[in-house]
């Protein structure tokens, strides 16, 4: 389908569903049913099976017509991680049940993966799912769960067979967060706020119809989810001087009295690094658009994290006395991270998470070394040992 055909199709849709008079949710559902939600998804699931390249054009036409959007910022895990995984591994019934309300934002999703004892080594996770009639009973503890207090559903990985080696004994589920056995508690972090939660699961029953993929296939399904996470974190298009470098450059321009040759040199080095990182992102996206995906996104994220940390550190020094002050330690529950909306001290602290969340920089270096450069894998002494026999 050409751009022109798509434009015509959108015009016809808008003629039939006037965004100025149609109720928001009704409009969004109709948009989904017309295949105009996520354009690259298949017909019948909110898309038309077209190139993702057409999505910005589609969004632009609809926005210009005054159409409401699905508030994607409020459901980043759902849209960015749950949806592509459900699309790839879900049954037809599951896709029909979950994808539409996910896209419209009626149902927010969260991710129950990490555990206190399973961070980088996610496959060591200990949350147990045990067969129970035509479903599963789940017990365990998850951590670093954003949006858990808002979510209707979660993507969940649990251990279903502890007698198998760790990678082979896991199964992936779609978990109803309204189950009474689920206890969500805010996890206060280094910045004083609580973006994330701890989630305690006690005798949570999940019907087998909410299993995603086969029993024992959980690791493969989870990896599909996580590959989406890394692209989402590292790969955003951005104009020059956007993000952290823009903040520091503006501070430099606004505060001539704070300038020193030493700070100037560091600023210029980081400006160059930030611009090169931006260009690397542009180039990587061009490669991806040509269908050359790969683990290169991990390299992007390594750079992004380092830059965010160096720049936020430089900003505090540049502010001098003002860098000693902090804007607010109150325990708040932000529904999304906006580094630019807070003070320099907040940026400095929050950026420390950039090299930890979505794969630590150490793990990402292993990924680049092994999957891009073809260097030998880390020794995995636990690979063939039944999970229950591993040292915990």
């Amino acid at each position: 389908m050409s751009r022109a055909d798509l434009s015509q199709r959108v015009e016809r849709f808008l003629a039939a569903h006037d965004p100025t008079t149609t109720e928001r949710l009704e409009f969004l559902r109709a948009r989904y049913d017309a295949g105009l939600a996520w354009i690259s998804y298949p017909e019948g699931h909110g898309g038309l099976g077209l190139s993702q390249d057409l999505q910005p054009e589609l969004d632009r036409i609809l926005a210009e017509a005054g159409a409401p959007d699905n508030n994607p910022q409020a459901n980043t895990i759902g849209l960015g991680m749950a949806a592509p995984t459900i699309l790839a591994f879900g049954t037809e019934e599951q896709k029909q049940r979950y994808l539409r309300p996910l896209w419209t934002g009626e149902e927010v999703w969260c991710q129950l993966f990490s555990e206190p004892g399973a961070g980088s080594d996610l496959a060591a996770l200990a949350t147990r799912a045990v067969r129970d009639g035509d479903g599963w009973t789940v017990n365990g503890q998850k951590v670093w769960t954003s949006s858990a207090h808002l979510a209707k559903f979660a993507i969940l990985v649990a251990r279903t067979n502890p007698d198998l080696p760790k990678h082979r004994g896991m199964t992936y589920f779609l978990c109803d967060m309204n189950h009474p056995g689920i206890d969500v508690r805010p996890l206060r972090q280094i910045t004083g706020e609580a973006e994330f939660n701890e989630v305690f699961l006690t005798d949570v029953w999940i019907p087998d119809s909410q299993r995603l993929g086969d029993e024992g296939q959980g690791w493969a399904v989870a990896n599909a989810t996580l590959s989406n996470e890394r692209v989402a974190i590292g790969g955003k298009a951005a104009p020059r001087e956007s993000g952290m470098i823009g903040v520091v450059a503006r501070t430099w321009r606004d505060r001539p009295e704070r300038r020193t040759p030493e700070l100037h040199d560091r600023l210029l080095r980081l400006w160059v690094d930030a611009e090169v990182s931006r260009l690397t992102g542009v180039r990587l996206r061009q490669k991806l658009a040509q269908g050359q995906p790969g683990p290169e996104g991990s390299a992007m994220k390594l750079t992004f994290a380092r830059l965010a940390q160096q720049l936020s550190g430089l900003e505090l020094e540049l502010l001098g006395e003002d860098g000693l002050r902090f804007d607010d330690w109150t325990l708040t529950r932000p529904d999304r991270v906006d580094l630019l909306a807070r003070g320099a001290g907040y940026r400095f602290l929050r950026a420390k998470g950039n090299s930890i969340e979505g794969g630590t920089s150490e793990i990402l270096r292993n990924i680049v070394a092994e999957r891009v450069l073809g260097l030998p894998s880390e020794h995995r002494i636990d690979k063939d040992v039944p999970w229950k026999e591993l040292a915990k």
């Binding site: 080095r269 260009l279 542009v282 150490e362 292993n366 260097l375």
Partner: protein
């Protein structure tokens, strides 16, 4: 600042393949090392193959003036390959820098240079940045006098493009190399050996009056494309080191399995990919005449110069003992990378220039 295509076209891939196969056949690594012992006997023949047979000498020259009519994109691909194989040819000095100057001057000389019949060099110290003031020689009744030290490409050139002081400003005169005294310099990088050039009343022909903008443009194009050579140098260092660490065993294990080394190589890969994007952007901005080209070139030079040195240093360190030998080619890349870092402006000079371009005043 529209989004430019930073990937390689099929034509560029084909060009790369041609250059690579010719260099594989004709650029003998042993002959390259021999240059450090003063043997330059293979340079002329290798350059003749590349310049005339492949037509690289006229790559940047429009077809109606006897060239290939290609752009900076293609020149950048050639430079990546020349850096990768350490080919000791005057492509950058003659076919990029001198040619850019001759094109600006609408000089008749460009046809012979494009055809590979003549080889030209701009006579400035190789460390000169586009933003620097170039040393201008004396001119008396059409004769040039004075000395310029550390000139790249002068040994290979038969015609020298010389900045001279005139009452109306700096002009460029063409002087036959045979009418000057060219003294080879023992150089850090003997694969791009420098020379001190002395003019003692050498007869010259006016190429361009009021030549400062053209000199600046030529050195600017040279710097922007030098970044691609640096990417080639860095990529050789990365690829060779990765390959070596997959084979080399110590402590009963392949070295590439040690995480301390894997992580360094992962970081190096990340930086090399970043350098490739920066160099590509500079080449594409040049090719398309994008108004952002000055920023693109400064960013590419500031980044790629240091990165190529870091890559070569990692190559030597991770090869360890063998990397310190004359026998292993790693040293060629370290010497080239360090020389390239200083050539056409240091990274610091490019950052200083950038500060003014992007409004980050001291």
């Amino acid at each position: 600042m529209s989004e430019l295509d930073l990937l390689y076209s099929e034509i560029e891939d084909d060009l790369r393949a041609s250059v690579r196969s010719l260099l594989a056949a004709r650029c003998d690594p042993a002959a390259v090392v021999a240059m450090y012992d003063g043997d330059r006997s293979h340079v002329a023949e290798l350059w003749s193959c590349l310049a005339a047979d492949l037509g690289l000498a006229g790559l940047l020259v429009p077809e109606e003036r006897g060239g290939q009519g290609a752009s900076a994109r293609e020149a950048a691909v050639v430079l990546e390959e020349l850096g990768l194989s350490m080919a000791p040819v005057p492509f950058l000095t003659s076919s990029v820098i001198a040619t850019t100057l001759l094109l600006h001057a609408h000089s008749e000389l460009v046809g012979a240079v494009a055809a590979g019949e003549r080889t030209a060099a701009l006579v400035v110290p190789w460390s000169t940045a586009a933003s620097d003031t170039v040393p201008a020689l004396r001119l008396t009744e059409g004769r040039v006098s004075g000395t310029v030290t550390s000139v790249a490409g002068a040994l290979e050139a038969d015609v020298l493009l010389v900045p001279v002081a005139t009452p109306t400003g700096v002009a460029i005169y063409a002087v036959e190399q045979s009418a000057t005294s060219v003294t080879p310099v023992v150089s850090l990088d003997m694969t791009r050996q420098l020379a001190d050039v002395a003019f003692d009343g050498s007869p010259g022909t006016l190429v361009l009056a009021d030549a400062k903008p053209a000199i600046r443009a030529a050195l600017g194009v040279g710097a922007a494309l030098l970044a691609s050579e640096q990417v080639g140098v860095a990529r050789w260092c990365l690829d060779t080191t990765v390959a070596y660490l997959k084979e080399r065993r110590q402590f009963g294990r392949v070295l590439g399995g040690f995480q301390a080394l894997k992580h360094r190589l992962a970081d190096l890969y990340t930086s090399v990919e970043s350098a490739a994007a920066a160099a590509r952007y500079a080449a594409v901005a040049l090719a398309t005449g994008d108004p952002d080209v000055a920023v693109a070139a400064a960013v590419a030079q500031a980044y790629c110069s240091d990165l190529a040195v870091a890559a070569a240093e990692e190559a030597v360190q991770l090869h360890a003992g063998i990397g310190m030998t004359w026998e292993h080619p790693a040293h060629l890349y370290l010497k080239r990378a360090k020389s390239d870092q200083i050539a056409l402006g240091t990274p610091g000079a490019h950052r200083t220039h950038l500060a003014a371009l992007v409004d980050l005043p001291r």
